[in-house]
Symmetry: C2
Subunit: 212 residues, 2 copies
């Protein structure tokens, strides 16, 4: 039955209640991790994320500290960028970027024979040098692999890596590799993820510090 | 094992092969419908869409006819808009719009006590009068309900309604209502869907006419 005359905020509240009631055992999650998982389920209607989501120790509190210090978010798709709450970013004095569609990134990718996603990571690292960066990767396994290389070599130390590429080739493997790195991470193990999942995790973090 | 040095095009080809090999029985789908379902699964890694997706008779061929005639796409989120292939739109002389974030839409919504998604549909209908419109709704049940009202009253006759809002309150119901209308539709029954699903369906249609 259609429920009429309810505000979007009320719909979200009721949705979260339904998710809570159907979640089952969440004893493997901290309270903050559970908030993130619930927002991902809210975005996908897919309860697989209760088991899929992996958090490094203190990933959420580390990320919140970075956000309070004006972290920048870097996404690998314009879709994810479009999905991150602009009022929350503004309130928290944070910025979000996606370089994947930039013409100089396309050119660099072509010249070097790398994917645009990799070239976009390199541009982010160069242009945002000195910033605390939260990378939100929902699409390109190659972007995660590039982050792994830069973390391993000591060239970058991201505030957080959100690694949720969706896919059937290399997505799962790229996420497993990041989980071996010494970096705060939030990862959806297996094939599932995507730009909406990536944006949902960013928003879940932001909403812990920004009351709508 | 990570597969190295493969192009994004090759990764997509192999992904589609994996999806095909795991799909199971697709006898309820036409060849064109199957292409759309496979792209949705490619975008979500969620095989539930094999059973979830509902197509009205000739929905795909009707939509392709509209696209060949320069149809316009109207989405309910900037995320979905960002996800639709710009080269394909340009090649096919089609345009895509999202009015949900417009300031006049916010104002209208506030004044009338309706959601921004409903006000955005009203703006689309007014501004794009005379155009063949493909509505791609991945988020707001209220947008689908508004489309239902306008279709029922004879005010609009969309070329296609892509109805894939995700959610726990009203999403399922709004999709059931559209399926009673006399309109070409592509609908994900139940709770699942979202902006990436909506964009994937638009792209699946565009790619039938635009070879990348």
């Amino acid at each position: 039955m259609l429920i009429e005359n309810v505000s979007p905020a009320e719909i979200e509240r009721r949705s979260m209640e339904i998710i809570e009631s159907e979640l089952g055992d969440t004893s493997h999650l901290t309270e903050q991790e559970k908030i993130i998982v619930k927002r991902v389920i809210h975005t996908t209607a897919d309860f697989d994320y209760l088991q899929n989501m992996n958090f490094s120790e203190n990933a959420v509190s580390d990320a919140l500290k970075a956000i309070k210090g004006g972290a920048v978010f870097v996404t690998d798709t314009n879709m994810a960028l479009a999905g991150i709450s602009k009022p929350a970013l503004e309130f928290l004095n944070c910025k979000a970027y996606c370089f994947t569609g930039d013409s100089d990134v396309s050119e660099q990718a072509k010249n070097l024979g790398i994917t645009r996603s990799v070239a976009a990571i390199d541009k982010a690292v160069k242009n945002l040098c000195g910033k605390k960066i939260i990378f939100a990767i929902g699409n390109a396994p190659t972007a995660l692999i590039r982050l792994h290389e830069l973390i391993s070599s000591g060239d970058i130390a991201p505030a957080l890596v959100i690694g949720v590429p969706v896919g059937f080739v290399n997505a799962e493997q790229s996420k497993e590799i990041i989980m071996t790195d010494n970096v705060p991470y939030i990862i959806s193990a297996g094939r599932k993820g995507g730009s909406t999942v990536s944006a949902a995790i960013c928003n879940a973090l932001l909403y812990m510090l920004y009351k709508r």
